[in-house]
Each structure stands twice: as C-alpha cells, then as structure tokens.
C-alpha cells in the first residue's frame, strides 16, 4: 500500500513539475524581432521623448500602432550610424519601401476593437498602465508566441497561473472587464467587439 502511494505521489509530482515548469516553456515558441530597436536611445538622442512622438493617434482618432517604415525613414533614409540593426532597417525595409514585419506583442484577435484614442484621451490612461515601462528601456523583448493559439504571450500574461502579475501583464477580455469594473465604465458587447 505504501509503495502504491509512493508511486502515485511520484506520478503526481512528475505531473506537477511538467505542468508548472516544463509546460509554460514548451507552450511558447520564441521569435526575435526583425531588428533590435532601442526606445531609450531614440528618446534621448533624437528628442522623440514621448510615446506619441512615433506611436501617433491621428486627427480622426485612428491609432498608427508601430510606426510605418516611412516614419523611420524620416531620419533613417540612409544609415546614420554603424549598427547592424540599422543596416537591416535601411537595406531591407527603407530602401525597398517595405514595411518592417514587427511582431506585435499586444496584437488582439480581429474581432476585438480597442481604441487608443478613447482610452488615452477620454479616460486619461497613461501608456504605461497597459504597456509597462518598456518604452523607457533599451530592451528589445523576445516575442513569445503560443504554439497552439498563435497569439502573443502578453495576452495571457507571463504568469501561466495568472497570479501575481505585473500591472499591464495580461490583455485578455477578463483584464479589460476588471479594469472597466474598477472604473465603473459600462460598455456593451459591441463596445469592444467588431
């Protein structure tokens, strides 16, 4: 009996270890961005100190997202420095007028409508509330993609159990809902879906 119990617990333990330690790593495949981009350096060196210097909300309310190559080409029409990443930008994307295939960490499914204009202008939320302080670093994070659903790890959040999360980590519908509940902003289904 004791042996059976031990074997059972052994199996149990193996499952726990596999499920909590191995599974989260195996579930995601890591991709690099097409080139490294340093937010802090750009903010300091070229006076693009605000998020919306490049991540622009247009006059009609549309959000530009990650800036198009034309925006980068405003300064980088030719190589300004000697970094290998800049060479990739200029040679592979600026000169042939192609869009850089950035991997978007917070890309939502097609049926989700999130308005940056409404959340930043009307609700007055700061960019850091959802996106963290990424823009103040020189880090180019690895893009981790869920092998099964295809979405970025940022959507579920880094923590597989969704406990003890950093603010802004996790962009699932329940995260939107809890923030809306806290701020008592009621919207119907089509308020966020399209």
């Amino acid at each position: 009996m004791r042996r059976n119990l031990l074997v059972f617990l052994l199996g149990f333990g193996i499952a726990l270890i596999a499920g909590w330690a191995v599974f989260p790593r195996a579930l995601y495949v890591r991709h690099s961005q097409p080139l490294d981009f340093f937010h802090k350096t750009h903010a300091e060196k070229s006076g693009l100190a605000q998020c919306d210097s490049c991540h622009v909300i247009g006059s009609d309310g549309q959000y530009s997202g990650i800036p198009r190559t034309e925006v980068c080409a405003g300064c980088h029409s030719d190589k300004l420095g000697t970094s290998a990443d800049e060479a990739v930008l200029v040679d592979s994307y600026v000169k042939p007028s192609k869009q850089t295939p950035w991997l978007v960490y917070s890309r939502q499914p097609a049926n989700v409508w999130f308005s940056h204009a409404i959340h930043t202008r009307r609700a007055g939320l700061a960019c850091t509330e959802c996106h963290g302080h990424y823009g103040e670093t020189d880090q180019t994070r690895i893009y981790e993609q869920n092998r099964i659903s295809g979405y970025s790890r940022d959507i579920w959040g880094h923590s597989i159990s969704r406990l003890r999360r950093a603010p802004g980590d996790g962009m699932k519908m329940t995260d939107c809902e809890s923030c809306h509940r806290r701020h008592k902003v009621e919207v119907g289904c089509l308020g966020c879906h399209q």
Partner: protein, 556 residues
C-alpha cells in the same frame, strides 16, 4: 526495484490526477478552442490605419467620384463623394464592390493568342506586321481621354483609322448631331431644368447616365408625390424599375415606341398643342393604335399630358429618330430643359460601324464594352483587364486594372455641362499588364505622353477661366493661382464642372419626319456596366436573392 505493471498503472493514475492540478488541461482547452476558431485558410482583414483617398471611377463613362479607403496600400472600401455635384455621392450598385475586381478569377494576367499563352513581344510583332500589311482600325470606347490622343496620334502617323465604339446613350444623341451639324460628343440633356421627362424605355432610374444625377434629382423633385415638381412618364412594354416609380406608365408593344412617338407628334400638331413648325409625321392614329396596342384615347391623353407642364424632354435609350423628331417638335432642342450643346465643341469621331471597312487588323481599347464584336474577319487585338468569355479576339492583351492606371475621365455622354476628372492610380500597375497607349508607344516612341496630355488638358481648362473645381468646397477656376494648383486638386479627386450650356446655341432642322425604325431594346442594368465581369459580391443581387435576374451574357 522491479517496476511492475501495477506501478505503471498507479503511476499513470498519479500523473493524471496531478495534471489537473497544473495549468495544462485548462490552458490547452482554452488554446485549442482558440485554435479551432482561427483556421489558416480563413483570411484575416488587414490591420493598419485606414487612409482615405479620392479618385474617379474608370469602369464606365459616367465619371463617378470615388472615395477609396486604403489600408496597407490596398483599397478596402469604396463610397461616393458627396461634394461631387455630378454624382452627389451616389455610385452604381456594382461600384461599391469594385475594389475587389482586380482579384476577380477572370482577371487577365498574361497575353493570350488563340487561347494559348503568348508574350508581349509576339503580340507587338504581330501588330506591327498587320499594320504593314493592310488597313488597321483602332477602336476607342471612351474618346476624349488623354489616352485617346495617343491612339489618335498613332492612327494619324501610321495610316491606321481611329474609330470609336459609341455607347447607347451617345447613339441616342446622334440624330440631333446630324440635324444640328454639331459633334455628338458635345450634346447632353439638361435634366435639371425640365419639368416633364418622357422616357421611351430609357432606364433613367436603373443604370442610365451617371448614377446619382437623375436618381437624386428624381428623389428631390418627383418621388412620393401624386403631383410632383418633375413628372416622369415612362413608356415601356414591361413594368421596369423606372416604370414602377414613374408618375405615369404607358405600355406599348415592344418595338413600337417610335410609332408612338410619331403618333403623339401627330396629335400635338393636329390639336395645335405646340407652336413649332415641323413636317407632318406619316402615320395615322388608328395605325399607331393597332401597332402599339394602346387606344387612340390613350395616345391623345399622353400627348396632352406631355405638354401640360413645360419644358418637356423626351429621352430614348438608343438611336430613335422619331423620338428625336418629337423633341424638335416639343421645342426641347437647344433650350433649357432640353437637349443642349455643351460649351466644349469637339470634332466628331467616326463610329467603327460607319465605314464597314475590311480591315487587316482591329485594335480594341480596354474601354470598349465586351459586347462590341467587330463584324470583320480582321485579326483582333483586344485589350482588356478581365476576360469576358466567348470573345472572338485573336489576341487577348491584359490591361492595367481598376485604380491601377493614371488616366482621365472626360464628360459623361448625357451630361448637361462639361466635366473633367483625373483618375489617379492608387495602386501600382500589375506586372505583365500594358495599356493600349503604352503598347503603341513601344512601337512609336514619339507618341504623346498620357500624363503630359492630362497636364495640357488641365492648362486648357485653366486658360478658359470657366466653371469651378469641386473639392470639399467649390473653387471657381479663375480663382486658382496657377494651372498646376488646379491640376493638383484634380489629381486628388476633385471634379471640374464647366458652365451651364447657353440657350439657343444650336438648332435642329427637320426636312421630313423620319421613318419609324424598329427601336433597340432598352438596355438593362447589366448591360450599362462596361466591364465584362461583375464584382463577385454582385452575386448577392441575383444568386443569393431574387432581387434581379442573373445577367445572361456575363459570366460573373
């Protein structure tokens, strides 16, 4: 220690129990269900901010203004331009899905010779050989464009004939051109000033002229009232869409519309309801009643009704000399509310059918509707963007697609005032396509350049100082600082509208009342769409609903 089978089973049980205390089953459940909703063969719409650009539609001669929404460099939505005074924001039903046309399965992407793939070089040699061997005709479907000047120049320099394929609306105006000695391309209808319109089968509310022009006018002045400001009398054998909405509907037998027009003219003359002097129609009311199936009383009633509120204008869908003569009698020629001469007089191009010549080869421009089949044994070089099927063409030559070519749109055939649109290309020309003008320029590089021709036309308009350019706000031409500034606005999708036609600027003289010819059938909505294929979404109208009949000749 020996590992027994029991150990394995119990171990597995432990693993299974443990798994439920890990995220694995719960996360997998969620992720797999997301996976099942995102099959890779289901397309995703593009991302990205949407930019709105303006241009003009080139699918037929109506010159509609287009507002095109672009995302990631491709058109993703089309609507009309509400500030365009010609169309007032309307488009034909097919225009709303036209941005999908460039990916139509029948898009031509390679040169075809008798059904086999060929190359542009082969096509060019064949055409040059044909030009050397015998008479060649170049057929233009939309004369007056900048590209037309290239075709004309080639014809002049290389002893080929420049001909045109006239639309049914242009053909309807030819009697006035002949009787008045004016170019047919300068004639139009002043619908805005008339109070009674008698349509002898012209589908005024369903595909005639420029979409929006008459539909908006009719909606404002005629719809929903038993005593409207604008009376629409529809004369048509069947209850068409226009007839169903008309103020009055008369149903003569098919083909007898000309006889009816002559009979009505006879009543007007006999009862002195009009003061114009014209030769008497050689028809009797009893004969007309027998041919049309309407009673003599109805014919009299129609005649009286037509002249109750003047000005009155009669419109036929295609060439109908009796209806044209009726207009002369009604005083609807060269006067407000009638057939008018626009200010820009241009030389009259010769229709293809005019000579009935035997040609060695015929080059057909992509603007010629697919229904145009030259009655000739010539070698046919057919430029087209989409394959209309069943074509007699020896060579099918792929032209640039929708929004792929910088071109211009001259005045629409039925327009009262001169107009000009520049249709900017919003997407790059597809690989492997060459426009007729580009093709001829490869043979003769001294031919005029289309872009320069557009520029000259803009300068010409600027020099006249007439009319206004309608962007978001209208600007009179004389207020522009330079021709270039005016051209810049036109290139961004504005439309130039010339001045209203001058009254009394042309007259028609009738030596005798024309003999009644069998009238052509009224064209239906499918036929007025010049591109040979429909946007795939048009199937909503006939396949997925019973709103319209499936188009007979077109294979959408």
């Amino acid at each position: 220690m020996k590992v027994s089978r029991r150990d394995l089973l119990i171990g597995t049980a432990g693993v299974t129990a443990g798994v439920f205390f890990t995220p694995v089953p719960w996360k997998l459940l969620g992720d797999v269900s997301i996976w099942t909703q995102n099959w890779p063969w289901i397309p995703q719409p593009p991302h990205g901010p949407v930019e709105t650009k303006q241009t003009a539609c080139t699918l037929c001669a109506a010159s509609c203004g287009l507002r095109v929404r672009m995302a990631e460099g491709w058109p993703v939505g089309i609507s009309g331009v509400s500030t365009n005074p010609v169309t007032k924001g309307a488009l034909c039903p097919l225009g709303f899905a036209a941005h999908q046309l460039n990916w139509h399965p029948r898009r031509l992407r390679e040169v075809r010779h008798h059904g086999y793939t060929a190359s542009w070089t082969e096509a060019q040699s064949a055409f040059e050989k044909a030009c050397a061997e015998g008479p060649v005709a170049i057929v233009d479907g939309r004369p007056g464009r900048a590209a037309s000047s290239v075709l004309k120049a080639f014809a002049a320099r290389h002893k080929t004939s420049y001909r045109v394929a006239l639309s049914s609306e242009s053909r309807a105006l030819t009697p006035y051109a002949i009787w008045g000695g004016v170019p047919v391309a300068s004639l139009g209808y002043d619908l805005e000033s008339t109070r009674t319109i008698v349509s002898f089968g012209a589908p005024l509310l369903d595909g005639w002229g420029t979409p929006g022009r008459f539909t908006r006018l009719w909606s404002e002045r005629a719809a929903g009232s038993s005593d409207p400001q604008l009376r629409l009398i529809q004369i048509e054998p069947t209850l068409s869409r226009t007839a169903a909405r008309a103020w009055r509907w008369y149903a003569p037998r098919e083909g007898s519309e000309g006889t009816l027009a002559s009979a009505v003219a006879l009543v007007l003359l006999q009862e002195h309801l009009v003061s114009t002097q014209v030769p008497i129609p050689q028809v009797t009311l009893t004969d007309a009643a027998a041919q049309t199936g309407l009673s003599v009383e109805s014919i009299r009633e129609l005649a009286h009704m037509m002249v109750e509120r003047r000005p009155v204008l009669a419109i036929a869908p295609d060439i109908n000399p009796s209806v044209a003569a009726l207009n002369v009698l009604l005083g609807a020629v060269g006067k407000p509310g009638g057939v008018v001469l626009r200010n820009r007089a241009s030389a009259s191009p010769v229709p293809f059918e005019a000579d009935g010549g035997a040609y060695r080869a015929v080059l057909i421009d992509s603007t010629v509707p697919w229904e145009f089949v030259p009655q000739t044994n010539a070698e046919v070089f057919r430029f087209a963007t989409w394959d209309g099927g069943g074509s007699k063409a020896d060579w099918l030559l792929p032209s640039p697609g929708f929004l792929e070519e910088l071109t211009d749109v001259p005045t629409a055939p039925t327009s009262a005032a001169d107009t000009y649109n520049v249709a900017a290309n919003l997407v790059a020309q597809s690989a492997g396509t060459i426009s007729p003008a580009q093709f001829l320029t490869k043979i003769d590089s001294t031919l005029p350049d289309t872009e320069k021709a557009i520029h000259s036309r803009c300068e010409e308009i600027f020099k006249t100082k007439l009319g206004a350019v309608y962007a978001d706000q209208p600007t009179p031409v004389k207020e522009f600082e330079s021709a270039q500034k005016m051209e810049d606005q036109l290139r961004k999708g504005a439309v130039w509208v010339g001045e209203a036609p001058r009254a009394g600027s042309f007259h028609c003289t009738l030596k005798q009342w024309p003999a009644t010819t069998p009238t052509a059938l009224a064209s239906d909505w499918a036929e007025t769409w010049a591109a040979p294929v429909f946007p795939p979404l048009a199937a909503k109208l006939y396949q997925e609903s019973t709103l319209r009949e499936a188009p007979a000749r077109r294979q959408a």
